[in-house]
């Protein structure tokens, strides 16, 4: 199981990766810029994502919106921003590969001449509406903000979510766009992958043709982040929200993406909450019926991850009950680790998930996106098999040790989200926090 590829770095610093797959007459074009919300500073949060929106508003040589010519050619396209990176992709019919490369290269090289105050103001409004829709007007939508704010100190760039603070988005200025573009949006800070119905030699030649004359720029120094201190003991918080059922969040610092223990904690999350036979689901939802849902996850990121357990109390049940049940299961797991049967099941699922990821050339999580992820974070697009091996070689002791090292009950952030006016439903002793 692997993803075959060719890689070349252009003189201006752009990495170009090609993966041939001629099953369908389509090609995926995927561009990663190694910039995300962790490159932001307090007071200017949400900017990397707002910037991503502006990348769809036209560039110097085609200034009538980014979507029109591509949708007319039959493309699907999108982009996204997270803490560590910003990606853009098109999946085009083979005969529109030139068009997609022209468009991607034009916005990489020539975005600023087409930037206007009107576009900037419009997309700022759109992003504020995105924030209202996906965070403010959504049940439990503000919990994530409270968690990261508590896990990381205010000057740490994982202290805020990628969407940013509404006031910061309102305060963003068009001059910031220019500076951000010059610093982060150039070939030396980008990685281009073509995957699909394209010959490697022809693809490399096309990439050079469209991107070769864009000036390179300096690759920004990696964001160096000191490992934050663990949360103080008993950091127990509550927020009130427009929800019917109270929900409990527990979060811990955990190893960075690809660091020792990252894959193990991903598997620990599977053992705890994937499927009805997982430990937490079985105990809390299936047997005791004190929770309506429970999820554990290792949220892997470049400069430090967090592990989270989330459970929603069933009507009439308290978060204290839910917390006790989680701790009981976790304590047993920390002592004994997974059974051989559990480990086998999780490894079978991991293998299947790697196979599922080989099914599409483009889009979020398709082969082109994965090649870029491995290239940007590790400098090695060929990491797929090694990545699979991180899981395949995991052992029961490895899972237990990783869990014991990171999921200490004394070093957690615990957050209760309760219906408005019903703070009494929170875990005892919780301090109110405000997020908006």
């Amino acid at each position: 199981m692997n993803i075959a590829f060719d890689k070349r770095t252009l003189p201006n610093g752009l990495d170009v990766i090609i993966h041939e797959d001629h099953s369908l007459p389509i090609v995926a074009v995927n561009v990663w810029y190694h910039v995300g919300s962790k490159n932001e500073v307090p007071g200017r949060t949400g900017f990397a994502h707002l910037f991503e929106h502006l990348m769809f508003e036209g560039s110097q040589h085609y200034d009538r919106g980014y979507f029109h010519p591509l949708q007319e050619a039959g493309a699907a396209l999108n982009g996204s921003t997270n803490a560590d990176r910003t990606n853009y992709w098109e999946v085009v019919p083979t005969n529109a590969l030139d068009l997609a490369l022209w468009m991607e290269s034009d916005r990489m090289g020539f975005l600023l001449p087409a930037l206007t105050e009107a576009k900037f103001a419009n997309q700022r409004d759109v992003v504020l509406n995105e924030r209202r829709q996906n965070y403010e007007n959504r049940p439990y939508g503000l919990a994530g903000m409270a968690i990261v704010a508590a896990l990381y100190p205010p000057d740490h760039p994982y202290h805020w979510l990628t969407i940013g603070a509404a006031d910061d988005i309102r305060a963003a200025h068009i001059d910031d766009v220019r500076a951000f573009f010059q610093r982060y949006y150039h070939p030396a800070n980008a990685s281009l992958t073509l995957a699909g119905d394209v010959d490697a030699a022809a693809g490399l030649q096309l990439a050079a043709q469209y991107f070769g004359d864009i000036a390179g720029g300096d690759r920004p120094a990696p964001v160096q982040l000191a490992t934050p201190l663990p949360p103080p003991q008993d950091l127990t918080l509550v927020i009130e929200d427009r929800v019917e059922l109270p929900r409990l969040y527990m979060a811990w610092h955990s190893p960075a993406l690809f660091a020792a223990g990252d894959a193990e904690l991903d598997l620990v999350a599977e053992v705890l909450s994937s499927g009805k036979t997982s430990r937490l689901y079985r105990a809390l939802v299936y047997e005791q019926r004190i929770a309506t849902e429970v999820a554990a996850s290792q949220n892997s990121r470049e400069a430090g991850s967090f592990f989270q357990i989330v459970a929603t109390a069933a009507p009439g049940r308290t978060l204290a009950e839910v917390e006790r049940a989680i701790i009981k299961e976790l304590t047993v797991f920390l002592e004994t680790g997974p059974t051989a049967k559990e480990l086998d099941r999780c490894l079978a699922q991991a293998e299947a998930h790697f196979l599922f990821r080989l099914q599409t050339v483009g889009g979020f999580g398709g082969k082109s996106d994965q090649l870029n992820a491995y290239n940007v974070f590790l400098g090695d697009p060929g990491y797929f098999e090694k990545d699979l091996d991180r899981y395949g070689s995991a052992t029961a002791d490895g899972l237990r040790n990783a869990a014991a090292a990171w999921l200490k009950l004394s070093n957690r952030v615990v957050l209760s989200v309760v219906p408005r006016g019903r703070v009494a439903l929170a875990l005892p002793g919780s301090q109110p926090v405000t997020v908006s």
Binding site: L24, P25, H68, P69, P93, N137, Q209, D213, L358
Partner: protein
């Protein structure tokens, strides 16, 4: 050679694409099998299509089809609920239970080496579900809790109110999850009876797509399902036989949500069924109006006004006429303006701004040039094949899609828009703050604002 930036590059010659060939067979018990080899990745996707969805719910038991579907993996054959999921985990299988308005679809994707084991499990879920009381009690409780939580989700509130207003007591007038009262009254014997009446081999289609030849896929399905013999005596009515729903009582309805930062909108009316000669034209008209990013409505409400993160429209095709619906979540203080603009756009396409040649070409091109990408994964192909089975479409449907779309001109598409979009029948549902919105909504002059309580 540097790029020529004086103009966009033209498109090269189109590469031919051969649509996946579907092979059909029928077992002695009447069960239909569709197979498609798809050899890229060692996976297989199997779908079981049972033509009984929420529209088959008895009038006094909304939610019955959905909870029946939900119970299939809660114990079957010699396996209890936990054993079923332990097996799924060991097979690395993904199970997807989906109960829509017209059908229940059970999907299972797994490694091809586990095909037979996966089929056995799927077979037991469909044929030998246990429907045990204690599992039912738990699943019902989870669904009731889910209903409770949906009360805080504006999109769910809007969808429920919209279905109620458009269809009222028609079988499409409720969402698959049903209502609290109905779920509370439900008994195990209800689901047992529903299963007995709706699930049977001659009504079921199994689609298998994956890394094996036709014969191997078919033989595996046949081995698993040939022993299924119980045929329902009283199957649910075909949606084809549903009468038209009564006309909605009003045009404007509001679900109150105090101090909402945004208003959730649904605007639409009952439109047309899946099996209609106007299908392709309706798709093209929708591409112009609101089917993609560059459509009129998104360009207006998002890219021009900045009222929303996105607005879109769709004809929801079902066996009986489904709704045309516009959906958007707009900032609260722009609610009335967004409603006015949205209705104006729907009216304009069959009024003072008919579809232009350029828009027609853009809509047709987006639909046809992008078509092959819908056939990339085994699951996508299986779902496409299942659509053919659900809507009685011919096997060459995929091959005829592109020519059928390209044969339409702007007059034909505008005529179809005129036939199936009617501004005078549009119903607008808003989930938002009543007191804050009422003055501006009254100024829209759309009549009385009905206060909807979603039950």
């Amino acid at each position: 050679m540097a790029a020529d930036r004086s103009r966009l590059p033209g498109l090269g010659p189109e590469r031919r694409f051969t649509f996946p060939a579907i092979q059909r067979s029928t077992l002695a018990n009447g069960l239909r099998i569709c197979t498609v080899p798809h050899r890229q990745v060692p996976l297989v996707a199997v779908l079981a299509l049972v033509p009984a969805g929420a529209s088959a719910d008895p009038p006094e038991r909304p939610g019955l089809a959905a909870i029946t579907g939900d119970m299939l993996d809660e114990g079957c054959g010699d396996k209890g609920a936990l054993d079923v999921h332990e097996t799924l985990g060991r097979l690395g299988a993904q199970l997807d239970l989906d109960v829509g308005h017209d059908a229940t679809v059970v999907g299972l994707t797994t490694l091809v080496r586990h095909l037979d084991a996966g089929l056995e499990l799927l077979r037991d879920m469909l044929i030998r579900p246990r429907f045990e009381q204690r599992e039912f009690d738990r699943v019902r409780e989870l669904r009731l809790n889910r209903l409770l939580q949906l009360k805080d989700m504006p999109p769910a509130l809007a969808d429920r109110a919209f279905a109620q207003l458009l269809y009222r007591h028609h079988p499409y007038g409720h969402l698959p999850i049903g209502s609290e009262g109905s779920l509370r009254a439900m008994m195990v014997r209800d689901i047992t009876a529903f299963h007995r009446n709706a699930y049977g081999p001659a009504r079921t289609t199994i689609v298998a797509v994956g890394d094996a030849p036709h014969e191997a896929l078919r033989d595996s399905v046949a081995r698993a399902f040939e022993g299924w013999t119980t045929e329902p005596a009283q199957p649910p009515a075909d949606p084809d036989s549903f009468g038209a729903p009564p006309a909605p009582a009003g045009r404007l309805a509001l679900v109150h949500r105090a101090a909402a930062a945004q208003s959730e909108l649904r605007i639409g009316h009952v439109a047309l069924p899946r099996r209609t000669a106007d299908y392709h034209g309706a798709l093209v008209a929708n591409m112009v109006l609101g089917g993609q990013f560059v459509s009129r409505i998104n360009m207006n409400l998002r890219e021009d006004k900045g009222y929303t993160y996105g607005a879109r429209t769709a004809f929801e095709f079902r066996r009986a006429p489904g709704p045309f619906v516009l959906q958007a979540s707009v900032q609260a203080d722009a609610t009335a303006d967004a409603v006015r603009e949205a209705i104006r756009e729907i009216a304009a396409i069959r009024g003072d701004r008919p579809i232009t040649r350029e828009e027609l070409e853009l809509g047709r091109a987006s639909l046809t040039r992008g078509y092959p990408r819908n056939f990339e994964t085994a699951d996508q192909i299986a779902r496409a094949a299942a659509q053919l089975a659900l809507y009685d479409l011919p096997d060459d449907y995929f091959t005829t899609f592109v020519p059928a779309v390209l044969a339409l001109d702007e007059r034909a598409v505008t005529a179809i828009a005129e036939r199936h979009l009617d501004p005078s029948r549009l119903v607008t549902v808003i989930v938002g703050d009543r007191d804050r919105l009422t003055p501006a909504l009254n100024a829209l002059d759309m009549g009385e604002i009905a206060d909807v309580r979603v039950v």
